[in-house]
Symmetry: C2
Subunit: 346 residues, 2 copies
C-alpha cells in the first residue's frame, strides 16, 4: 500500500459522521443567538423568548446523489427541496425560506435548467416556502445543488434528536425501504439498457417504489398532525440515511438504547415481493435503505392513545437503558444488534 | 455550428445575471416573513418590527473560483467565509452564523480537510460568527464549498442596492484592482513553473496584491465605522465581480445612473507598477478586476462631512439621473460608458 492509498483510506475509515465530528470539533458557539450548532437535523437560532429559527443545508452532487440518466430534472429540483425542508420538519418546525446554489457545467442547455427550476418552484409552492436567494456558478464537472433552508418553531414544540427517555415508544411514519428498492429497479433497468439500448426499461408496476426514490414527499403533513393531536415527540429525526442509522443517532444523542421489532416495521407488500425478485432481504431494505424522508420519533407512553391506530404512524419499538444494546428483535424473539450501513458516499 | 454548440451558447449569452433572472422570475414571495428575495446581496427575513435577519449563500468550485496549485487550503477556508460574510456587511448587517457544505473527492487526505477547516474556524473567530451546520458529501471531481450565512440588521440601518438618489456621492472603501493583479501574478508564476519546475516562483514584492487575492478581508470594520459616524448609506453592494459591474447593479436597482472619475479611483502605486509590468491598463484592473471584497456605497451630499478625508473612504463619483449614461470620466474630461466585464465563469 502506498502512502497515498493510506491517506485515501483515512476519509473512508472515518465515515461521513466521523469526518464531520473531526472537522467541526473546534466549532464553539460564541454568539448568544446560536442556541444549537452542528449535530442535529438543523441549527437553532434565537428569535425571541418563545420562538427559534432553524437553519439547515444539504448538498446534492451528480453521480453521487443522483443520476441524470434516469432522474427527470424537474423531479430532481423537487427532491432537492424536499430533502432540505425534511430537516426542518424533523425539528417539528415549519420551513419558510430557501436559498439555492447551483453549480452547472456548460453542457447544460438553459431549457434543462428551467426544468430543474420548475421542480424547485413546484416544491416551494407545495411546502409553502419562498426561494429568496442563492448563487449560480460554473462547475467544471457535473451538476451540484446546494440548498439552505430557514424555518421557525415555537420553543415549546422544538424536538431534538436528544430527548428520548427510557420506555418511550419508537414510532415511524409511512413505510420504509421503498425508496431504496426504487433505486435498485432504476439501476437494474439502466444496466439492461446499457447492455442493449433497444430493450425498453420495465418500470411498470414499480411506480410507488420509483416515485418514492425520485420524488419523495417530506412529511409536512405529520407536523400538522402533531399540532392537531397536541403531541410533541420526545425526540425526532428524518430518515435520510436509513432507519438503522437514524435510530442509532437518536440513541446516541439521547444517551439511551432502542429495541425494535422486525414484524412491526412498516413495509409494503410491494416491497416484500420486489425484494424477493431482486434477491434482497426486505428487512435489510427497511433498516438500511436510505432516502425514505419519513420521520422517526419517540413519544412518552402516556401519549400512546394519541397515536394508536393512526394510519400514518407505526409503533416499532421502545427506548431502553443505555446499558442495553440497540436491538432488532424478530418474531421468534431472537435479537440482533442494530448497526448502521446507510449510504456510504465516501 | 452543431445543435449542441448552439445550446451551449445559450448560457454564455445570458450570462450569470441573465440566467439567475430567468430561473428565478417565478420566485414570488408568499410568506409574510420574506421581506426581500433574490436580487440584493442578501435576502431579508422579518424578525421583529425593528430588526431583520439576512441570509446569503455562495458556492466556490475548484478550478473555477480557486486553484489548489497555488491557494493554501487554510487561506481558501478563510476566504470562503469572507466572501459570504461580505454579503451581510453589504446590507449594513452583522453576520452571526454560517453553515458550510463541502463536496470533496476521496483524493483529499483528512489532514488537507483539517487545514481547510482551520481557515474556516479562524475566519469564524475573526468575524465573530458561529459554524452551526452544513453537509459533507463525496464529490466525483474537485472540491466544492457552499456556505450560507445568517446575520442581523436593525431595520433603520439596512442598506439595499436600491436607494441611491440623484446627486448622492459614490464612495468606495480601501483600494480596488489589487486582488485581480495578485491573481495575474500567481497565474504568471504558475505558467513559468509548469514550463520549468526548477525555477522558483517570484512572488516577493507582490505580497499585498497576492494577499488580497488569496485571503481578502471583508470590511466588517467599515460597518462599525458607519455606526461611529452615525452614517447610513443610501445604497450599498460589495465588490465581488468588479467595480464596474457593481456600479451598474446599484444604478439599475436604484433606477439612476452614475458618473465616476478615473483619477479618483483608489489604486495603489504597486498596482500601477505591476499593471505596467504585465502590460495591463491599471484603470481596467481597477474597474473590472473582481474579488476586491471592498464596499461600494452611496451617501447623501449632506453626509459628506462625515466621510471627507476619511482614510478608508474614497469619493469616486456621483449619482445622476437615469437619462444619463453610466460614465467613467478621465482627467481631460472625456467620458467612456461603463460596461461590466467582471468575472465570466460561464
Amino acid at each position: 500500500m502506498s502512502d497515498n492509498e493510506k491517506k485515501h483510506l483515512e476519509i473512508d475509515s472515518l465515515g461521513e459522521f466521523g469526518l464531520i465530528d473531526k472537522l467541526t470539533k473546534e466549532a464553539t458557539l460564541k454568539n448568544p443567538s446560536s442556541l444549537l450548532g452542528v449535530g442535529d437535523d438543523a441549527a437553532e437560532i434565537e428569535l425571541s423568548p418563545k420562538e427559534s429559527m432553524l437553519v439547515s443545508s444539504d448538498m446534492l452532487v451528480e453521480g453521487v446523489h443522483f443520476n441524470l440518466s434516469y432522474v427527470p430534472l424537474k423531479s430532481l429540483g423537487f427532491k432537492a427541496v424536499s430533502v432540505n425542508v425534511s430537516d426542518i420538519f424533523a425539528m417539528n418546525g415549519k420551513p419558510e425560506q430557501i436559498t439555492v446554489s447551483l453549480g452547472v457545467s456548460s453542457k447544460f442547455p438553459v431549457e434543462a435548467l428551467e426544468e430543474l427550476y420548475k421542480g424547485i418552484h413546484a416544491a416551494c409552492s407545495f411546502y409553502n416556502v419562498d426561494l429568496v436567494g442563492g448563487d449560480t456558478v460554473s462547475s467544471s464537472s457535473g451538476l451540484i445543488l446546494s440548498i439552505s433552508v430557514v424555518g421557525r418553531v415555537a420553543k415549546k414544540k422544538i424536538t431534538y434528536r436528544k430527548g428520548a427517555k427510557e420506555n418511550d415508544l419508537v414510532v415511524v411514519t409511512g413505510d420504509v425501504g421503498s425508496s431504496y428498492l426504487g433505486l435498485q429497479i432504476l439501476e437494474r433497468e439502466k444496466g439492461v439498457f446499457l447492455e442493449n439500448p433497444d430493450i425498453q426499461p420495465k418500470l411498470e408496476g414499480y411506480d410507488d417504489l420509483i416515485k418514492k426514490q425520485i420524488q419523495p414527499i417530506a412529511r409536512q403533513d405529520v407536523i400538522d398532525m402533531f399540532d392537531e393531536l397536541d403531541l410533541v415527540p420526545s425526540a425526532m429525526i428524518d430518515i435520510s440515511d436509513g432507519l438503522a442509522s437514524e435510530v442509532l443517532h437518536i440513541a446516541k444523542s439521547s444517551d439511551c438504547s432502542v429495541s425494535l421489532y422486525s414484524d412491526k416495521l412498516p413495509i409494503t407488500e410491494k416491497l416484500i415481493v420486489t425484494a424477493e425478485e431482486l434477491n434482497l432481504d426486505p428487512y435489510m431494505c427497511a433498516m438500511n435503505g436510505g432516502e425514505d424522508y419519513e420521520l422517526l420519533f419517540t413519544v412518552s407512553q402516556k401519549d400512546y392513545d394519541k397515536i394508536k391506530n393512526h394510519p400514518s404512524f407505526s409503533v416499532i419499538g421502545f427506548v431502553t437503558d443505555k446499558s442495553q444494546d440497540n436491538l432488532l428483535i424478530d418474531k421468534n424473539n431472537s435479537a440482533v444488534r442494530i448497526s448502521a450501513q446507510g449510504w456510504k458516499h465516501f
